[in-house]
């Protein structure tokens, strides 16, 4: 997993070119492929050597595994799209913490640092929890009032 970190530069997004991303998508959809198989389905319009160089670069960035098959390599993505996304997120936090004395970082730097989607989901869940708490308090209040009136 650590080798995948070499794809990160100073920013949090993986530094992949459009063609590298296209090849990665193809490999995710096919599971594994040789350069010839990548070219065979006709969606990639590049020279064999260009594709070969690019998948080799992805391999060196730690995004692909490869095994010898005949006289060529068969490439397999090392991470699923979700895993790659997770590694990206983790690395951005690691870079944040590595930028200074991590122990001095205020808690607020870590809290709420999730992606917008996850933060939204957690906000919704928090609202549900608070609503349930209110309901519980109200029902307890009603119970104690009822006991008091008896």
């Amino acid at each position: 997993m650590t080798k995948a970190f070499s794809i990160f530069g100073s920013g949090s997004r993986p530094q992949l070119g459009p063609f590298e991303q296209q090849l990665l998508q193809e490999l995710w959809s096919q599971g594994s492929a040789t350069v010839r198989e990548l070219l065979a389905d006709g969606r990639i319009h590049q020279a064999y050597t260009t594709v070969m160089t690019t998948v080799d670069r992805l391999y060196k960035k730690g995004l692909l595994d490869r095994v010898v098959e005949g006289r060529a390599f068969r490439y397999t993505p090392r991470h699923s799209p979700e895993e790659l996304q997770r590694v990206t997120a983790l690395e951005s936090i690691r870079q944040l913490l590595g930028s200074g004395d991590a122990s001095l970082l205020p808690l607020s730097y870590l809290v709420e640092a999730l992606s917008t989607h996850d933060a939204q989901l957690l906000d919704e869940l928090q609202l549900l929890v608070e609503q349930k708490r209110r309901e519980l308090r109200e029902s307890k209040g009603r119970d104690s009032e009822a006991r008091g009136s008896r």
Partner: protein
Amino acid sequence: MFALRGIAVSLTFFVLVYCLLSALVAVAWRSLRWLHARGKRLAGLLFALRVLPLAASIVVTFTFVVPSFQLLEPRSMDIDEGMGAVPLALGIFALLLIAWGCFRVITAQTKTSRVVARWLEGARPVAVEAGAQTVTFCSRSEAPPLTLVGVRKPRVLVSKSTVALLSQDELQIALRHEIAHMQSRDNLKKLIFRFCPFPGMAKLESAWSQAAELAADDSAVSNLDDAVDLAAALVKLSRLIPVEAAPVCTVGFVTGSIRARVARLLAWDEAGKAQPTRVRPWYVVPPVLAVLLCVLATYGPALALTHDVTEWLVR
């Protein structure tokens, strides 16, 4: 040669039963209807299914293969059957599989120990109501919010941010959740999974992990107030991003589907919890006795059959 042949044949049976059952479990586990069980029972069933191939292959090897070889294989020096290519190849494969399993276990243990030792720098035990001797406060920033670590001497690590974020009640119930994992020996179970690898088992392990979380939620919660506190703790701690991936022998508090766990906690049914399903172990006794009697009645022919298969494999 006799002993070597015996070992090779035993390992051959072991690996054949293990691989066949593993393949069967990996393909068929989701279609089993009785997996609609809930909570602790579901976690137990999934764990049993996951370790069934290993357990069954060990039982078959030691109950049938070893005795059949010992009793029925001629020991005469005049008859040298040789080891046979199939038992030799499968025996080596079995040894490699066992060695691979051991390597995975040792690696997981070593990696966990290294990471946990780093988390524990400057840590101190905390005296809290729920399991005072097992809770440790970690001051290092890379420590996870709340997690159970260790197999032999498990303990719950609580981070600075967790103590800051959670109320007293929320912290107590969250600790109870982790202690439920400790009582279920979930880290040991994870290590057992590491020992018996097989392709296609990841989804079953993931389902077990989710079921184990729900089971720990069930064990921690005793009323609706607890359930809401646990849900609140879960949402709060989900906002903390882990600084590094947790090693194998740890169980984090924020694991599995948070949405599903929170929804389940908020819909907590106190009546259901107050009347837990009665476990009647004596129901198990007749089937177990019946199986034992069948095994005893057919043990001789089963040994002979096993020996015939052995002969066929060797020749």
